[in-house]
């Protein structure tokens, strides 16, 4: 279902890099990547996952997951936990803790606090732990400054460094509008996946382009190797297909 896209991104292994950043250009939807990664993490036994819903509410990920062949509800509350900011705001309106923190914390501080709490509760019992954040631009929309967002990501990257087998995956929409934040956040990790639209227009058989950049640094050595890979993707009803550039052409 989603194995090919995860393989292309190098996220199909049990042990993931500490920090992965997904940059999403304007006018392109990369939320399928979150669903694909979520499914892969949930299938690993005793691997913990925390999903922070900012862009879509949990029900969306559940339904998208069902299309991809996994039922996230089975894992909910066991190996899978959710911080559903969007639903909480809908339920409590303007008095939601994400909008008016009772402790005087900023939105990003409140989020870090909640993530830490979840981590303390669940991490010791799990073989590995993944934190998925979809997406950072919502934090900016809700009033967080760029510095706060960067600090938030820095805190998460520190968590990933401090804990073994902890992976943080962030996504930022409109990366072309927030290039500074996007680059600074991407620098925190070794893997960056850019979801790009087709510059030549809309094509029925391809939705967009994935540009995967990995920095391979061997500990102790001074050399740093960077790899770049470009693939085309098409999101279908129940799977995501990957093509190499030049593989497909216009059918007449």
């Amino acid at each position: 279902m989603a194995a090919s896209v995860l393989l292309a991104c190098g996220l199909n292994e049990q042990k993931l890099p500490g920090f992965v950043h997904i940059s999403e250009e304007s006018n392109v939807d990369g939320s399928f990547l979150i669903s694909c990664i979520l499914g892969q993490r949930l299938r690993i036994s005793n691997a913990g996952t925390l999903l922070v819903c900012l862009q879509n509410h949990y029900q969306h990920y559940f339904n998208a997951g069902m299309r991809l062949g996994y039922n996230s509800n089975i894992f909910l509350g066991k190996t899978f936990n959710v911080i559903d900011v969007l639903s909480d705001m809908a339920r409590h309106g303007l008095s939601s803790k994400w909008l008016r923190s009772p402790d005087g914390l900023t939105l990003t501080d409140q989020l870090v606090k909640d993530i830490r709490e979840q981590l303390e509760k669940n991490y010791p019992n799990r073989s590995s732990y993944t934190i998925l954040i979809d997406n950072l631009s919502i934090l900016i929309n809700l009033g967080a400054s760029k510095q706060q967002v960067q600090q938030f990501c820095l805190d998460l990257a520190d968590l990933a460094k401090a804990h073994d087998n902890l992976t943080v995956i962030t996504k930022l929409s409109n990366s072309d509008i927030h290039p500074l934040t996007d680059n600074n956040v991407a620098k925190l990790g070794n893997v960056r996946i850019q979801v790009l639209r087709l510059k030549s227009g809309v094509f029925r058989e391809v939705d967009g382009k994935l540009l995967i950049e990995r920095v391979l640094d061997d500990e102790g050595s001074y050399s740093c190797e960077q790899t770049r890979k470009e693939v085309l993707y098409k999101v279908n009803d129940r799977n995501v297909k990957i093509f190499n550039p030049g593989e497909i052409g216009v059918k007449v």
Binding site: N56, H57, M89, A90, L232
Partner: protein, 489 residues
């Protein structure tokens, strides 16, 4: 103990159906051709943004379709605007067509087309079926006639909340009747407009029309649709941020000329009075939400969001709830982000508002329809446009030919403008529905608004002069935006 479990089939919400393509519950946008582009209709929980044309005419037509469809399906309506008079807009909703009228109209159109395309030399081609560029109609929804306004009797059954952030005085309010002639004094509008500086500090929301079911006309018992209003009033009592005042009434006769409004203190939340006319429930606020500090710099967003959330938090809009009285709420905001909303923190407030609204609409059985003057917003801050589009599920731009040289160009003589699909997102699913083509144009006919596949007329003569002229006029096809850019595949 047996393992037998009685299967409970959930009753579908009025005016909705499950899409066979995506499995989503969808509702009609009111316009059959727009429904077709959206894949049958708007999914529940989605926000559709219509980017207004320069003269703001066509987007308003689509908004009227959206509201009229909701009214006909007995759904809850919320209409908010600073630029328009919501009451006036409700009064001018298009008239629905009966099935016979729809059939008759379709037959007439087919005949007209056949006459127009009659071939004399290659007459054998006459036997071939006509290529209908106006795409097939959707299965849900109604057809409307833009030439005529909705019957006052129908309007009296509307269950609508309107918001225009104007201070209203009590007498004007009592005179207001949505079902009456537009000559009636308007609440908070026209001559009764308060001082603009004062009006910033006041807001009102209003539920107009009878909550009685047409089938139960004349009955004295309170109609079931009254539940959300009462619940909203109860919620208002508990929420300091939205001190809504509530009155209620019952429809006792089909006479729709008189209203009765009771404005009360928060302590007396409900008061039912029988009148000889349509029930008009008013919820004016004497002061802006107090008690809690404002979340937005512009207090209007606070007030608007409070009213919307108060309405949407009602149990009848709760998804998955197995209730008899489940309903759908249609939230329509026209000209959001117009210059009337401008202030020093316009961009921040607008993005915050849309983000929270997105959360609210997603979490209940509601659909939201927003029109925005995006050409003005782009001039204010061009980076705001993609940010706004990211926060909605459908972004559709209406590019009108009015006032441009395309208006008289022979290639576009059939159309009123072009329709650009900027965003279609997958909600509660993986893949998004894509229409057959994204090269679309619209035309505002006398009776209806039609979206068609863009095609050039066959008799457009090719001369070197025309080709050169049309090179900068013709729309750039989606595939091949820039000839300098190499293809990606």
């Amino acid at each position: 103990m047996t393992s037998f479990r009685k299967r409970t089939v959930q009753k579908p919400i009025r005016g909705t159906r499950t899409s066979p393509h995506t499995g989503q519950v969808i509702t009609s946008s009111g316009n059959p051709s727009l429904d077709l582009i959206l894949g049958g209709g708007l999914p529940i929980g989605s926000i559709c943004l219509i980017e207004e044309d320069r003269f703001m005419t066509h987007a308003k037509v689509l908004a009227k379709y959206f509201l009229a469809e909701g009214l006909l399906s007995k759904q809850e309506l919320f209409l908010g605007s600073l630029d328009d008079l919501p009451e006036e807009m409700l009064r001018r909703l298009p008239k629905p067509l009966t099935d016979e009228e729809v059939e008759q109209e379709q037959r007439l159109e087919q005949e007209q087309q056949a006459d127009k395309n009659g071939l004399r030399i290659a007459f054998r081609y006459n036997d071939l079926p006509l290529v209908n560029s106006e795409q097939a109609t959707a299965k849900i929804g109604h057809h409307f006639n833009l030439m005529e306004h909705m019957d006052a009797m129908m309007l009296s059954y509307a269950h609508a909340t309107i918001w225009n952030d104007k201070k209203t005085n009590q007498e004007d309010y009592e005179d207001f009747d949505v079902a009456n002639d537009s000559e009636q004094p308007r609440a908070g509008g026209g001559e009764s407009l308060p001082d603009p500086s004062e009006s910033m500090l006041y807001s009102y929301a209003q539920v107009v029309g009878s909550k009685a079911d047409p089938d139960q006309e004349g009955e004295q018992s309170p109609p079931p649709d009254a539940a959300p209003t009462q619940a909203a009033a109860a919620a208002a009592e508990t929420d300091e941020a939205t001190p809504m005042e509530q009155s209620d009434g019952q429809k006792t006769a089909p006479n729709i000329n008189n209203n009765n409004n009771n404005n009360m203190d928060n302590s007396t939340a409900n008061n039912t009075t029988s009148t000889t006319g349509t029930t008009t429930t008013t919820t004016p606020t004497a002061s802006p939400p107090t008690g809690k500090p404002q979340f937005f710099y512009n207090a209007r967003y606070d007030r608007l969001l409070n009213y919307i959330q108060l309405l949407l938090n009602d149990s009848i809009f709760e998804p998955g709830a197995n209730m008899q009285e489940k309903n759908l709420c249609r939230v329509c905001l026209t000209s959001l982000g117009s210059p009337l909303w401008y202030d020093d923190h316009f961009a921040e407030d607008l993005l915050k508002f849309l983000t929270i609204l997105r959360g609210s609409v997603r979490s209940c059985t509601a659909v939201c329809f927003i029109t925005m003057p995006m050409h003005l917003i782009a001039k204010y801050d061009s980076s705001l446009v993609p940010k706004i589009r990211q926060l909605v599920d459908y972004a559709i731009e209406l590019e009108s030919f009015a006032g441009s040289e395309r208006e008289t160009h022979p290639a576009f003589k059939e159309y009123s403008g072009l329709l650009h699909l900027h965003k279609m997102s997958a909600i509660n699913t993986l893949a998004v529905h894509m229409p057959e083509t994204t090269d679309l144009a619209f035309k505002l006919r006398r009776k209806k608004f039609v979206i068609e596949k863009l095609h050039l007329p066959p008799d457009l003569q090719e001369s070197s002069e025309q080709t050169a002229k049309s090179a900068d006029v013709l729309p750039i096809p989606n595939c091949g935006v820039n000839s300098n850019v190499s293809m990606d595949f």
